[in-house]
């Protein structure tokens, strides 16, 4: 009886650890996105500081490709929007995962209690 519970406990633990890993992964992905947001914001601001006389280049691989200032501004704006959307998505994901992990934690704790009880009973029997 106790062994069965123990196995269950182990399985639960592994599952919980997996969930934690997923949570941390999405967390780090979200942080990356945030970094990108900041960066793109700065680029946008600096592009605003320039005028059309300055040529704007985009580094694509090893090549610097000339770009139009307005085009560059639009591109950067679009990218910003995209990143923000991604962040939202990751937020939702994170919330769900946290909820799930909480539920799982509770399950684990109840399992643990059961296990301890079973152990106590076993000790008593012995």
């Amino acid at each position: 009886m106790a062994e069965a519970i123990q196995k269950k406990l182990q399985l639960g633990l592994e599952k919980y650890q997996q969930m934690q890993k997923d949570v941390s992964k999405s967390m780090s992905a979200r942080q990356k996105l945030e970094a990108q947001v900041t960066e793109n914001n700065i680029v946008k601001e600096e592009l605003d500081l320039l005028d059309t006389q300055n040529t704007v280049y985009k580094l694509i691989g090893p090549v610097l490709v000339k770009q139009d200032l307005e085009e560059a501004k639009a591109t950067v704006a679009k990218r910003l929007e995209y990143i923000n959307g991604e962040i939202q998505r990751y937020e939702m994901l994170l919330k769900d995962m946290e909820k799930k992990s909480e539920q799982h934690r509770e399950v684990l704790s109840s399992l643990q209690q059961e296990y301890q009880r079973a152990q106590g009973r076993a000790v008593g029997k012995v």
């Binding site: 942080q31 700065i42 680029v43 600096e46 592009l47 500081l49 560059a72």
Partner: protein, 521 residues
């Protein structure tokens, strides 16, 4: 920011790069965040250190940008510069720096812009703003966490036994809380935890140094542990109460007998009394120990600065006489439990009222009941000892008194009324708090008795009708009443015995005392 200049000689483009450091910053902040997420509570210490590292990093960046700005200012001064061009990691070769006004700037995210030196300067300024804001944020967070670190340092000091923190301990001699304890109306009622919390507070106040407050602030776990301890103790005491429940009358008799024996100063009875009839004992030991405090006969023991195992100097403290707590009845709220709040209020009031008489010393007189107090503390007017007036409220409240009438049997209650209250004065004076009302009323036929006993009564106060007279009594009563010593750090031995009388007589005991006085002398 890239600076491209053409070397005429070799037609090589040379890039001067100032690394784009924002990503670094963001990565660092994210690492801080991961640090936080990995642990539930980031250690304030590591947060502070992280902040310091970040601040250093950003300061470096700021320095770099400033150097760059200077360079940009001077660069367009000349059309071309003769320089030593780095050729791989190990070699240089002479060359020229041309197009000194054309700066290709990395805007971020693989975007470049060609601008003049002045425009580049503007961009640098813009970036410096960002750096400055980041620095400010870091400073703020650092400040916030530095406070926490201070706390932890204090805790360390505490545990090391240095820093002037002293542990005050009082050892109990395993005396069981006697008497009926107030039963909380609900099993897990608030008063218990309140009492514990208040006791914690009292302890904090009473600790010699700031240790107490620090402890209160810091050791949440200790608090919880104490709560558990106290709950266990309370359960034990409840069991004892159950056992002693049946012995209520006996307890009453004991208390009354003890009150009658006050003069004999039989302290041996006190333990017997207390085992049966006491009120919430924990509050007695408010100084140090929350558990039921045993009445301590004899002097206090103080061992200064004993080094304990935990490294804290300890002062061992013991009470001489533990006052028995009396159930105190307010007019409206008849409280079964002697709550700490009340006690504090009473103590505060006592302090107010007994400001003058604080310096009283009993010179070895033992007080076991309010009667004693009243007896001992008398004003001398015209060569005659005049009893002090009680400040208690009208007697009518007696009837609304706490419902632990199990102790005060109905018979007692009637006796109270009929016999009048010889010890009333005593009890009236017992609790100096205005809010406390004892069941004692002014003595009626008891006057001769008290006078013989106390010399306090010159027969001036005769109460034939309890209620009306009690009021005038109270009004006439001089404000100065015998000092009820606080249960706080009472280091004066003579004052120690003062503690006993207030709580010693229970309701029942007072009336028993009255009865006995009637019967006795």
């Amino acid at each position: 920011m890239f600076r491209k200049c053409q070397c005429q000689l070799l037609d090589v483009d040379i890039w001067n790069v100032v690394p784009f450091t924002f990503s670094c910053f963001l990565f660092n902040s994210s690492s801080m965040r991961t640090c936080q997420t990995s642990r539930k509570l980031p250690c304030s210490d590591c947060v502070v250190k992280g902040c310091e590292d970040q601040i250093q990093h950003w300061k470096n960046v700021k320095g770099d940008y400033e150097v760059l700005e200077d360079r940009l200012k001077t660069l367009p001064d000349k059309v071309s510069y003769d320089i030593m061009v780095p050729f791989g990691p190990l070699a240089f070769m002479p060359g020229k720096l041309v197009h000194t006004n054309e700066i290709t700037v990395l805007l971020g995210d693989n975007w470049f812009a060609k601008c003049s030196a002045k425009q580049a300067q503007m961009l640098v300024e813009h970036r410096k703003k960002h750096v400055q804001s980041a620095l400010d944020d870091l400073h703020k967070t650092k400040k916030n966490f530095e406070a926490r670190v201070g706390f932890t340092e204090d805790l360390e000091k505490l545990s090391d036994g240095k820093g002037g923190y002293v542990d005050i301990r009082e050892e109990l001699e395993g005396v069981v809380c006697k008497g009926k304890r107030r039963v909380s109306l609900k099993p897990h009622s608030k008063p218990k935890t309140e009492a514990i919390v208040k006791m914690e507070e009292e302890e904090e106040e009473e600790m010699l140094n700031a240790e107490g407050s620090k402890r209160g602030v810091l050791s949440e776990e200790e608090l919880w542990a104490r709560l558990d301890e106290l709950e266990a103790q309370e359960q034990q005491e409840e069991e004892l109460d159950r056992r002693f429940d049946s012995a209520d009358t006996n307890g009453n008799d004991d208390t009354t007998s003890s009150s009658s024996e006050e003069e004999k100063d039989e302290e041996g009875d006190r333990p017997a009394e207390r085992s049966k009839g006491g009120t919430t004992m924990p509050l007695n030991g408010s100084q140090v120990d929350r558990t039921a405090l045993p009445p301590r006969d004899g002097g206090k023991e103080e061992q200064e600065d004993d080094e304990e195992d935990d490294g804290l100097p300890t002062i061992h403290f013991s009470h001489t006489v533990e006052p028995k707590k009396v159930r105190i009845n307010t007019g409206k709220n008849t409280t079964l439990k002697f709550s700490e709040m009340k006690e504090q209020k009473q103590q505060a009031k006592r302090k107010k009222n007994n400001g003058t008489s604080n310096g009283h010393s009993h010179h070895g007189l033992h007080i076991t009941s309010p009667t004693d107090i009243y007896r001992l503390f008398v004003d001398v007017k015209n060569g005659e000892p005049v009893p002090r007036k009680s400040i208690l409220k009208s007697r009518s409240r007696e009837n609304s008194v706490c419902s632990d009438t199990s102790e005060s049997s109905a018979a007692d209650f009637e006796e109270r009324r009929t016999l009048g209250r010889s010890p009333s004065h005593d009890d009236n004076t017992y609790s100096d708090t205005g809010s406390a009302i004892t069941e004692e009323d002014a003595p009626t036929g008891e006057l001769p008795v008290p006078t013989s006993r106390f010399q306090a009564f010159s027969g001036t106060v005769v109460e034939k009708e309890p209620i009306p007279l009690s009021v005038p009594q109270l009004t006439i009563a001089p404000p100065a009443l015998p000092t009820i010593p606080e249960r706080k750090l009472e280091e004066v031995v003579p004052e120690a015995p003062q503690e006993a009388p207030q709580e010693a007589p229970k309701r029942v005991s007072k009336f028993k005392a009255a009865r006995l006085q009637h019967k006795g002398p």
